[in-house]
Subunit: 351 residues, 2 copies
């Protein structure tokens, strides 16, 4: 079992190990004075772990109520959020009680946002059950819901009291979702750790499962370092967007249904690294190393969408921040920086 | 013109004076780097001041868009909030732009909440146009919307960049709303300032209008002191609830439509002070002084609702905080403290 301590405006531990869900009550008891808990989950995850979490909490003498919504990104909306609020009032959840987000990124984002806003904020604990949520959305305090016109447009910064990453939960994760999470794992190696990148390059989608505790700990530690340096997303945190600018355009092209987030990020990383190598902005062979690594995890590294179309979508997205755009470039595997480009420079860079 | 500086997690000035709305652009330019502004208002206030605000902002070279919703508490809901979010995306409002809340408490609360959550937060400026909003909701950083089952159940702490209290706006305020605001003004005198209380007791609803700049400055300064000591509402800030516990029960009894907030608070202050005097918890004559003052501003100080019914409603509300209840008592006009009572003690106290 590993513990990564995060020092944000509110400090908390990320515990990474096997079998944490079954004993979650013991861990949670240590971090909150709450006596009543609302466990929020989706139908897929609730079926697998809802009863186990409830049992563990009740063993500690806690009151427990459970709210379950349909799985999928479509649930990360204001209608489900309002249902959660109503559920909390009906179950007399107060400011001194606690929410538990049991599930993947959608559950974590919307539950965290409910915890940030219901009664102007109460405690919450993250129990991420997907690889993507364990390495990404469970750390950093970003919570959100989607609007009909865009993802994550409404949200708040809200740090959890505790994050429990149960490796065992990944045993029940469909292969497809596991691959998706590996996209973000490779990203962490690329932006901050040649050591992690080398481990990934020496394993594959099967063998990596034997060392997940170490892998997830490394990813969470990297995200922790970045987030501690930039809690409110004003600088350093941009590095986490490596592969995301073009990746988001790929996702958008398929209306967020044709390709999963991690796979789109994989494509985005490969595209941007190819451009960077053409312009001598990174060491020779970086793209080869990256694509070889992506292949090991069955992740894509190219797309049929014309790159000019993707670039247009980027600008449409990013011009929101003014007349320039920040692109994250890895000068080698394990080292990244943000490069500010004018719109013209960006279009020329992308080709 | 007076300025009260508030030092919260984000510091800002409350400017109190006559004619501020017409030159709001100049003031706002000094506190934000934003170039685009979304002015949120209700139909009543927009009619009176919307064009004036837009003109002043445009004189500074700013882009302006305006969102107007129907006046009244019923608009402080998630449906109107979602309309605001959609309006902001349609008008390409970004994280570096700014919202302006132009109106009373409802406008201030929902606009502040939108500013706290849209894109995880952007700048906002309060231009409160009612007496109640100028002395109460515009200072302190509490933002919220209502749920069908209760008021202010969803919200966030979000400090504005600036508050402009234009005394001239009170000239157009219906007499009924002016009286309502005076309920909270008397409260400030009672909890923290015998000097303010004496001034109020030496004036009436007509003469007070000649010294509003001084009166509002005193109220805002008191609220500032209390809020600075307790930004996130964990202690001192409770004093602001003087008269509110029973007052809320009165409002609730009439389904929040039969009596206005300030009037209900007036009744609550009188009821609690009567009980306190009976139990020798305050100086003799305190209730007489309070009721005499309330009369001067045409505020009520009694109710036909049986006090046992009000007490039950209090408990239903406050047992949410555990097995005890905090009651604010003024030992004399200008001095207050919070007294923790068990449920039994409270019922005995109320009689």
């Amino acid at each position: 079992m590993n513990i990564v301590s995060v020092k944000a405006s509110q400090s908390y531990d990320v515990v990474i190990g096997r079998g944490l869900i079954a004993s979650c009550g013991e861990y949670i008891k240590k971090v909150t004075a709450a006596k009543s808990f609302a466990v929020v989950s989706d139908d897929n995850v609730d079926k697998l772990y809802g009863d186990i979490v409830e049992k563990s909490l009740k063993e500690q003498g806690f009151e427990v109520c459970r709210f379950v919504f349909p799985h999928g990104e479509a649930s990360k909306c204001s209608a489900v959020l309002n249902d959660i609020y109503m559920f909390l009032t009906e179950n007399h959840i107060t400011r001194s009680d606690c929410l538990i987000a049991l599930g993947g990124g959608v559950v974590g984002d919307i539950t965290g946002y409910a915890a940030a806003t219901y009664l102007r904020g109460l405690d919450y604990v993250q129990v991420p059950t997907s690889l993507l949520a364990q390495v990404d959305s469970s750390v950093g305090g970003k919570t959100a819901i989607d609007l009909p016109c865009g993802k994550n447009l409404v949200g708040a910064f809200k740090q959890p009291k505790l994050v429990l990453c149960d490796i065992a939960a990944l045993d029940t994760l469909p292969r497809d979702f596991f691959i998706d999470g590996m996209g973000e794992v490779v990203k962490y190696g690329m932006i901050k750790s040649s050591e992690l990148f080398d481990i990934l390059s020496g394993n594959d989608i099967d063998s990596i499962k034997n060392i997940l505790e170490d892998i997830i700990t490394r990813c969470v530690s990297i995200k922790r370092d970045v987030v501690e340096a930039d809690e409110f997303d004003k600088g350093e945190r941009m590095l986490l967007n490596f592969g995301h600018t073009l990746g988001h355009s790929v996702e958008q092209h398929y209306n967020y249904t044709g390709i999963s987030h991690g796979r789109a990020v994989a494509v985005g990383m490969a595209l941007i690294t190819g451009r960077a190598e053409n312009k001598d902005l990174c060491a020779d062979g970086t793209l080869d190393k990256l694509t070889a690594c992506l292949k090991r995890y069955e992740l894509p590294f190219s797309t049929d969408i014309p790159v000019s179309k993707l670039a247009d979508a980027c600008l449409n997205d990013k011009k929101r921040a003014g007349g320039s755009i920040y692109i994250i470039i890895c000068s080698e595997c394990g080292k990244s920086s943000a490069v500010k480009m004018s719109i013209d420079e960006f279009m020329q860079f992308i080709g």
